[in-house]
Each structure stands twice: as structure tokens, then as C-alpha cells.
Symmetry: C2
Subunit: 312 residues, 2 copies
């Protein structure tokens, strides 16, 4: 089965033709400098059309267009619910109508993290499971959950997506979401510099000499034995461990798949989290498996087929 | 519609006949001193039979027996999955067969917190909603979740029930469940004495004179202005606030129903939690309503009818 897919991120859109578990062709569109999503749509349709013709594929051969959006989406009504600053016009757009008129194929839209989970389930780290939590560690902490073979969505399209905003330190830092002590306010890309600077002895740590305090630099200095870096790393790992326990207790999965840019340092993270999960959560049935995501930024594109097939 | 119901707690079982949103007749069985559940079953069947005959009701008039069990239950296979020390033989019992042979009516079994949520949905504080989180504050913290009209269960029957075991203090106390910093390890009946004794100035607080440090005594001394009691109360409220945010972010509900024995002090708790929920969680669609449970220990019995009707 073939399908068209769009993975729309904050600064670019990847347009693709996929067939089962393979990506046949992709084209990248930049969306930087554009005001909203509407101005991007004509070029996006043209690009998808070019991919089809270059691949000698008719629209009728495609199961549809799977649109992966970087914000909250009401899948049932095929509408964007809310965005974070970028593509503010999206909730007002009838994307299904745009797809119908410009491509003439069935249309499904979903939050990108949910489609990435579908991709890892269909073609990646979670193959063979039906109860899955995905957690992406990056600038923020994202995620999604599948329970008994069904994506968890919830009344307002938020369920499963807000794991990064479970408070793990009830008296902690204020998060960008408004809540207090969220996991991503305590251990994610955007909060790491604050956490590091708040650590005793920071000024004399080599971390203080970095232009940009990233997890890559943190793990580098911790591996070299810097006391402050070790302390901050241990704190971040404990935050992620507690969050993983919360996600396991919330959604009852068999497997937790961890992705996101921070997992470039997977060797410093994955063994810790598997050990944490072996020791701490209450899972009388057995042990939850903790795995690295396998598909990287192709996960959402490879989730296109299962998204389009979901209720068929 | 009529139904039989059993609400099995740690020390007693309430046997009942219900009709729609009314409890027609109840009888209490003590289970203290018994070894497991099997020895209780003959008397339980006899008691349910007596309720039927005293009510001049035939078994055939009942939609079935709803069995509310104080542990993890696999609803689909009608088996108890695990228990906490009490009724250790329950996973080995074929309760559906017992019900069939002794009463001759359809049988459903479910975790008591899930059935209590069904009761509050059918006849209590959550009428009219389909997206509900229930949180019970007592010796421990229990709960359940309904998402888009369906009880959340999960692969191993744990989903929605373990809210009390979301870590809200990643470097906190060890919980009885094995995890670290769970909400109930930081603010529930069993952990409150430890939390209070660990508070600076405890020895000179009137709390130190109490034989038993309960939330009722805590709120009493806090209302009287004792500094230690105020500090502990504020900490517990903040823990429950953070947990409520986590539950909202996990399950995307419209309403959070709060029950349990601690809510005898609802006037000290409910306004705080509604204010917390108005301010902190990320719910761009609107505000989650926070409500007291209305049905107390009748909630599970009143959940019998919707449990028996669930998939019919």
C-alpha cells in the first residue's frame, strides 16, 4: 500500500511518498519566514503532486494523505486544535477540503508524536507490541501512548501527549506550560541551562565556559569527571526515571520507546532508565522494556500507513 | 433494571440489591479473621440469595452480579490479577463459575475504584460527563479514569488506577509500591505521620501530642494556627495539586471527582484544588471542574448497573 505523508515541523515540512514500511521519495519545504500555514499549502500540494509524478504513481494508488502536525489535533474532525505560536492560522483552515481539492485523496491529520508512535509500532522499536508509551527527549519532552492497540487521544486531543508536563517536583520550577515542576521544566533542553546554573559550584565547572549548555556537553563533562556535570546529569536521569515510572503507572505499557535529539547520548541514558524501570515501578505482571526509538525523524512518515488504515 | 452487587473491602463485604440509581437492600459480611476469599463465598452466595428472597426478586429479574474487588482485576477474563496481602487466593478462584452455580446470573468483576467512578458517573458527581478522573484520598491514594465514555483499563488492568503512584517528588520518599516520591508516599494517611515528624519544629507542635496523626487532626491544628500543622497542610495540598495536574495531563478529563475519607475535611481541600486547577494545568480548551464525590461508600454499589450494561 502507498500513501502520501507530510511531517510539518516548526521550520520545515517533509513531503513524502511511502509504501508499506519504506519511504520511496521525500522533498523538503522550508516554512521559515512564512506567516502561518495557509501560504505554504499551494507549494505543498504542488510538491506532493511532483513526488507522485516523479514516482509514476497515480493519486488513486494512494490510501490517502497523512498529515503530521506539530500541535494538538482533533483527529475525528480533522482540525488543528491549538498550536504553539507557529502556524496560528491552522485551527481556522479546512485542510481536509484543501487535500480533497488539490490532491483528491482521503485525508487524515494527527499530532506528530502520535504518528511517530504509530511509525515505531509499524516499522520500528515497538513492532509486535500493542501497549506502548513513547517519550521524546529534546528541547521539550513529548510523547504519545497506545493502549490495547488504540492510540490514546482523549476528549480534547491531549491524552498521552503531555507526559513532559507531568509534575515530578511538586515544588519545582515554573514550566512554560504554566504548571509547576513539570518533567520538562526540570530536565529538558530548554531548562537545562537554568538547572545547571542553579547547581552549587557551577561557576568553576567547565560547563560555565560553554557557549550553549546542551545535554551533549553535559554528558561530555560528566564523563570527564566534572563534579557539577555529574550532579546535574544524575539529577536529569532521576527526573527522567521518575517520569518513566509515572508514564508506566498512567498507561500500563509493555514497552517504553525513547527518542528525541537527547538520545544521541543514548549510552548515558538507556541503561540507567532500563535499570530504573526494573527496580521501581509497580508492575506485578513483569518488567517493562525500555528501548531507543529506531526511526529518528522518519518515524512520523512511516506512521502514515497505519494512521490511514487505523479505523478501516 | 435490577442487579446484585458485592463491594469487597479489606475487612468486610457489602452485599446489595440495586435498582437503577437506588440501593434497595444491603447486608454486611465481615471478612476479618478469614483466610482468603474462598471461605467467604458460600456465606456471600447465601446472603445474596437472602437479599433476593427478602426483596421478592427472582434472579432472572437481575442483570447480573457486579463484584467490586479491592485489587487489580482483569475485567475481560473476569479474573483477579493481584491483591495486596488480603484475599491472596483470589487470583486462583473462578468467581464467574461460583456465581453461575450459586446464583445463576451473569457475572462481572472489576476493581472497586473503577466501579466507584462508574457510580459517580451514573448517579453522582460526574453525571453528564464522559471524560472523568476520580481520585480518592485516604490511607492511600486511589483512582480511576474514564476517557470518551470508556473506562480506561490497559493491558495489565493497571491503567487509571495508579494515580497515587505518580512520582511528584522525584527525589522523595520510598513508597510502599517500590517507587520513589509517589504522591501517596508524600501526602496520604499512611505517610502523613512520617511527613509531619520530619517537619522542623514538630516536637513543639500540638501534633506531637496526638496519639494518631490524621488529616482531621492536621487540619484542626492548622486551622488553630499551629505553624507546623500549617506547613504540613500546605505541603500536602501542593502534592495533591501537582497530582491533579498530572492526572489532567495524563487523561484529558472534563471533571476530577475527589473522594475518600480525607474529604471529610473537604472545605480545607476542594477550594484549594479548584484554584490550583484553574491556574496551573495546560488546558487550552477551558477549565477542568473539581468536585467532591457524592456517593461515599455507596459509589461502587451504584456502579453495578453501568458495569453490567457496559458492553451491551
Amino acid at each position: 500500500m502507498k500513501a502520501l505523508a507530510v511531517d510539518l515541523g516548526g521550520t520545515h515540512a517533509t513531503c513524502a511518498l511511502v509504501e508499506d514500511r519504506a519511504i520511496l521519495r521525500t522533498k523538503l519545504l522550508t516554512t521559515e519566514g512564512t506567516q502561518g500555514l495557509a501560504p505554504v499549502l499551494p507549494l505543498m500540494a504542488e510538491t506532493l503532486g511532483a513526488i507522485l509524478s516523479e514516482s509514476e504513481t497515480e493519486p488513486s494508488e494512494c490510501a490517502g494523505l497523512a498529515f503530521c502536525f506539530c500541535g494538538l489535533v482533533d483527529h475525528a474532525s480533522a482540525r488543528v486544535v491549538s498550536t504553539n505560536a507557529k502556524y496560528d492560522d491552522a485551527p481556522s483552515l479546512d485542510l481536509k477540503d484543501w487535500c480533497d481539492k488539490s490532491l483528491g485523496v482521503p485525508f487524515q491529520i494527527e499530532n506528530d508524536a502520535r504518528v511517530a508512535l504509530l511509525g515505531e509500532w509499524y516499522a520500528g522499536a515497538a513492532r509486535g507490541f500493542r501497549d506502548i508509551v513513547m517519550m521524546t527527549l529534546g528541547t521539550g519532552i513529548g510523547g504519545a501512548a497506545m493502549i490495547q492497540g488504540q492510540l490514546l487521544r482523549g476528549k480534547h486531543a491531549q491524552a498521552g501527549c503531555l507526559g513532559g508536563h507531568f509534575p515530578v517536583l511538586f515544588n519545582g520550577r515554573r514550566c512554560t506550560c504554566g504548571a509547576i515542576g513539570c518533567a520538562e521544566a526540570e530536565a529538558a533542553g530548554w531548562s537545562l541551562p537554568q538547572v545547571a546554573r542553579g547547581t552549587s559550584g557551577f561557576a568553576s565547572s567547565p560547563l560555565a565556559q560553554e557557549n550553549s549548555i546542551t545535554f551533549e556537553r553535559l554528558f561530555h563533562h560528566a564523563a570527564a569527571g566534572d563534579r557539577v556535570a555529574v550532579e546535574v546529569q544524575e539529577r536529569c536521569l532521576a527526573v527522567w526515571g521518575a517520569l518513566t515510572v509515572a508514564l508506566i503507572h498512567a498507561y500500563d505499557p509493555e514497552v517504553v520507546v525513547i527518542g528525541g535529539g537527547v538520545m544521541q547520548s543514548a549510552s548515558a541514558i538507556l541503561p540507567y532508565l532500563q535499570d530504573y524501570v526494573n527496580r521501581y515501578p509497580w508492575t506485578p505482571w513483569g518488567k517493562v522494556s525500555v528501548r531507543c526509538a529506531q526511526l529518528g525523524n522518519q518515524a512520523a512518515l512511516l506512521g502514515a500507513i497505519p494512521l490511514l488504515q487505523e479505523n478501516s
